[in-house]
Symmetry: C2
Subunit: 210 residues, 2 copies
Amino acid sequence: MLTEKTVTTFLDELASNSPAPGGGSVAALSGALGAALTTMVCNLTIGKKKYAEVEGEMKSVLEQSENLCAAFTTLIDKDTETFNKVIEAYGLPKDTEGQKALRAAAIQETTKEAALVPLEVMKHVIDALALAQVVAEKGNVNSASDAGVSALMLYGACEAAALNVRINLNAISDHNFNGWKEEELLSLLKTSKAKSDEVLEVVRKKISGV
Amino acid sequence: MLTEKTVTTFLDELASNSPAPGGGSVAALSGALGAALTTMVCNLTIGKKKYAEVEGEMKSVLEQSENLCAAFTTLIDKDTETFNKVIEAYGLPKDTEGQKALRAAAIQETTKEAALVPLEVMKHVIDALALAQVVAEKGNVNSASDAGVSALMLYGACEAAALNVRINLNAISDHNFNGWKEEELLSLLKTSKAKSDEVLEVVRKKISGV
């Protein structure tokens, strides 16, 4: 599993001449980093007298951001696994008409699966950004920049995942599937941009002391 | 060293109730991920007949992006180390006037050092984005989304690092230092936005087949 490798080894494998892990796994990792930073701000807020009023809310956010971080972490490996299945499908024999048909069907099926993984990353981003907003607004003010970096990593995860959804949709011939997923993708991108901008505005005001 | 921990452990330590590692180390990691993806696109381009014309250029980009990835990786740990020094300075005794003066001076000195680490991240981002642009334009077209994710991670690194520079500047009383660094920061942010937008435009055109 990629996530059980050291950060240095992960970077080395990413940089290597193997196409996986690639940008899809990085999108999921960026999401995990964003969720982990929101959890950190919760942990630096809970138990502090000054923030006693929001203690309950922070505990609830903490639980949700921990779950989201775990979900993103699973997707780091899942993205690479599904990508490897696409590569396997392309490697199937294509000598007879029957083989060609089976290979083409396998490519379509695995590529659809591969498109759904980054789409899942995008959906989790929207949930995680809602949590980042709570910690930016109500969490420990000394960790305002961490709430901001959380939002930035989540937004980056969403845009990065979108590129990976689209490069997969390009190889899919089911136009209904593509149209539906493209619509979903556009809506998720729009929401993540608006939500991360909101979080960053709160953070920048706190940092500049306005 | 943080970078010798597994990805899962890094995420756990990030999420913990210790303020370091925090957003500053994540900014440097985001830069490392961006540089590693540019290296990957070079590796997936070099040796391919179709890209023989750009082989020399790709080899040169590869060497530079490997160096930048190593530089970002060093800054992941350096950010946490310098942050811990700031915490130590705040912990110095403040019982006598002499102690108070020493403590205040130590806080100023360590905070200046802490501000310079994310500023270094931002400078490396500009160099790394220039390389991402080359691989987006001339690298293996099948890896276009990876070049795009590279640019997104680098841009996120720059914005995230900027928040960390600013939160440190807030605690520094040397107005000349702050003014000079704020000016540098604004210029780096502007360049990184413009450059990453350019790379993403190239990538989106390639992905949509325009």
